[in-house]
Subunit: 351 residues, 2 copies
């Protein structure tokens, strides 16, 4: 019998279609296409092909926009939003508009063209996290911005046009709809129960254990009860904190470990699937901070989203979240990787 | 300069990325794959390969589940929801669940394996509309159902697994999130302005004309001001009516004409693109009927929806809606088609 499950935060119903139950190997997805190494603007030695760098982790003594970096942040060459302009809104009858003001940056995660965030050493992923934090904290100073969206697209199906490992950041002059919905739900729950809904969720999930994928002292990775997508995974800090930007330096490595573990397990279980992940955090200038809890949502892109989903906000998920959690828990630990061999998944030597 | 536009109903912001401005021919999409004719369960003469028919338009004297039909409705052989079961909800701490109760039907639109709703004669499309209406009205009698979602997926990218022209219907025991959001917005607007927001939108759009694609006496097709997708098109009845099921028989042919015109123009302008359309209507047992206005949303699937969109509820649309409307208005009228030659787009003779 299929089951209808309601997400307590978004109030979205999901059909868990148990009779179509699928195993990880049932999902045929595109192989991750690797762009031509010779033309990649994100490879080391081609720093001149991107806009100037905004931030980098570099070997001491190397100059900006030259080789010698480990992680590098640049403006997007084809930005969706522009940094110049005002955030004045104007009304056109029932419609509202403003200039497309914002920032659009690219976080190049490594010099290695062929690897993947789930295959890099934890120390390296911690550098990427620090790059996220530096940009997130820096952009807060621009009072025009309400929100910074940090996200990653892996594979063409997931919207990545370049395969060289990179994340993106978009600073927005308005708070996004999804975040506003989560804040509303969190505020409502807090009003009723005097508690953060994400803290309540974590408590219930840890008591049951059925949907937990991975945990360390600071972070938990789990399959949400009403997962929209097969193998959807959320990473939540155990301690209540609304703001990703408030991450303590002691927590950078545990977060890197949780993110890497999650992405590695998805990679191993689903044969390098396309995915998106998004950091959900409290808006720069929001109120009711007590109710919200920052987290990361990882969504493998294994099924087509069709008219039914668009039309209804319903989702049909053919994988029971408890089964997905079990598959991901059972992934054997990765071989210890050093910085040299990390992520040579295609049997090639990069750089 | 890119522009941010806010949809007055969903309150979703969309980035209209004017500097990436694209013409219809810039969109590379998959060619619509045609399934093997010899194995198609929806072709005439293979009625035994589907569950028994629930409704059909048939030549007089022909028996159910035999050849002689024009439009045929059957249960989905692999339903997402099951007709047996109760709609009792149970709580598991902060989570809510119920049995996956519902109906999942397929409306086979024609015997012709190779055509498309946008290429069929208006009279034929009116038969399809009547099939929608018959099923929509019939399922209202099952008091477990709160909503019936009528939708169509065209092309594999849009989620269609069989290419033989068909629509789908899913009856749900809960009102979908998207519809609830629209109802909330409509109710709020009515409270403030004493008017239906869709009626206000239609009035403003008709006064401007810039985003209108097509109109007849009863229906208007237009590009929404804050279109999420390139060439997104909505079809709205000119007269205020919350309920698709209340369509007067005099309006069946005008609706068929508006739907066919819209789909034909998209087909001609964008070279047979994948698309979804969804009928948005008032829930069977909802309140505040005065505020809502049923309509159809057509979404060509030309761009990838990536992490940015999922994470934020923001969309980046590279086509200015006024430009899209102009392209669609300028599509030359189709050649008049008779029932025999309709839609032989692949130069083959079906059946």
């Amino acid at each position: 019998m299929p089951e209808l499950r309601k997400d307590p935060i978004s109030r979205r119903w999901v059909i868990i279609a148990t009779e179509r139950a699928a195993r990880p190997t049932d999902f045929k997805h595109e192989a991750i296409e690797v762009n031509d190494l010779d033309r990649c603007p994100f490879c080391e030695g081609r720093e001149g092909r991107t806009p100037p760098e905004i931030y980098a982790v570099r070997a001491s003594g190397t100059a900006p926009n030259t080789p010698g970096w480990t992680v590098r942040v640049v403006s997007n060459k084809f930005p969706a939003l522009r940094i110049e302009g005002s955030t004045d809104r104007s009304r056109l009858g029932i419609f509202t508009r403003m200039d497309g003001v914002g920032a659009h940056e690219v976080i190049v995660e490594t010099t290695d063209h062929h690897t993947h965030l789930g295959l890099l050493p934890v120390d390296h992923v911690a550098h990427v996290i620090r790059a996220y934090l530096q940009r997130y904290r820096d952009l807060r100073g621009d009072t025009r911005f309400e929100y910074v969206l940090l996200f990653r697209n892996h594979g063409r199906t997931a919207g990545a046009s370049l395969s060289h490992p990179h994340s993106q950041l978009i600073a927005l002059p308005v708070a996004p709809k999804r975040v506003a919905e989560e804040l509303d739900a969190a505020e409502r729950f807090f009003g009723r129960h005097g508690e953060c809904i994400y803290c309540a969720l974590l408590e219930q999930e840890q008591a049951s254990g059925a949907r937990i994928v991975f945990g360390n002292e600071q972070f938990v990775a789990l399959e949400p009860y009403a997962s929209r997508f097969p193998f959807e995974t959320w990473i939540l800090p155990r301690t209540h904190e609304p703001d990703f930007g408030a991450l303590r330096s002691d927590d950078e490595t545990p977060l890197a470990e949780a993110l890497r573990e999650t992405l590695y397990r998805l990679h191993a279980c689903l044969d390098n699937p396309p995915y998106n992940f998004i950091i959900h955090t409290f808006p720069y200038r929001g109120e009711s901070r007590h109710a919200y809890h920052w987290h990361i949502e990882v969504m493998p892109r294994l099924t087509q989203v069709a008219g039914f989903e668009w039309g209804s906000g319903f989702y049909i998920n053919p994988v029971v979240p408890e089964e997905a959690a079990r598959y991901l828990r059972e992934v054997p630990a990765p071989m210890p990787v050093g910085p040299v061999t990390a992520g040579r998944t295609h049997g090639e030597v990069g750089d």
